[in-house]
Symmetry: C2
Subunit: 192 residues, 2 copies
Amino acid sequence: MNYPGGVRKSDKNSLKEIHCQNRGMSLEAEINDSNDYYRSIDKAFIYKKPTPIQITKVDYPSRDKALIKEAFFTIPSTTDYNGLYEGKYIDFEAKETRNKTSFPLHNIHPHQITHLKNIHLHGGISFLIVRFTTLDETYLLPTKDFLEFLESDTRKSIPHSFFQEKAYLIKDTYRPRIDYLKVVDSLLEVYQ
Amino acid sequence: MNYPGGVRKSDKNSLKEIHCQNRGMSLEAEINDSNDYYRSIDKAFIYKKPTPIQITKVDYPSRDKALIKEAFFTIPSTTDYNGLYEGKYIDFEAKETRNKTSFPLHNIHPHQITHLKNIHLHGGISFLIVRFTTLDETYLLPTKDFLEFLESDTRKSIPHSFFQEKAYLIKDTYRPRIDYLKVVDSLLEVYQ
């Protein structure tokens, strides 16, 4: 028998997942978890990129061991996540905010915006995932709508009402935790 | 007037590039350089992923500065390069060998092989770029042919003759330094 959200009663992990859902798990952890799930069912191959750093000192305690002794975080030139779904190139950045009324734009670097735009203009699917943690709402904002806001508005944050109007609310599910590809499905229908 | 390889005489960098070409530049540097070039002409958006590391100690010398004091290199779960070209998802790993007769397979991690296979099976374009540095030959080996070798052969290295027979030789050009997308163009023709 199939339960809503595709969770089978026999699934030994389902109960645990229902209880833990959205309790203190970061957006990043939930996306990584969802990507693991998508891979496990052969649905999509989307990964978080490693954090970009500049290494300035390395020690070699033994011949084939390298230990980084000094490094700095550097500004990413692209987004955090990319991969393949339904033969399409997928690319997105994910951010959380504790703000209730708007999403501050300083969260997104200018070259990340350029990157999202390039992907959008060249046949890829790019977007932002933004979580308003206090409101417990997670939205997928397509790059097209994000750019329209930037071009028509000079404010330094995107109002929550803009998300309500233009973005897609990603519903909580059991598995994957955050089923953003369901929204991508509807984007693919629009674009094709 | 157009010179072979599309280099114009008026191009102030061309002479320098001709002289420096393939003189001590690593395959990685040449690919990064080519990807920069592809981006600059709006042709493709392909990036090298940051090196995956596990951070174990971080110092905060000031409020908004973080200094990594200890970290380790970790095994990558995917390949080094991915991105978007002609609406297609592109994914590859690049390796150099000083061997003249074969390419040792221990250069590629098992989960990288799995990843290349997944991309190939789900509508992406994935491949290896292998440079025989001593022979000054650089090949693009499509995942399909790479997998055929792995399935039909138990040797721990791929003979140079296999590359000559199955892979595509990437010709040296002035700009980009290594025009691997030219080979991808012919792959796209085959697959479509």
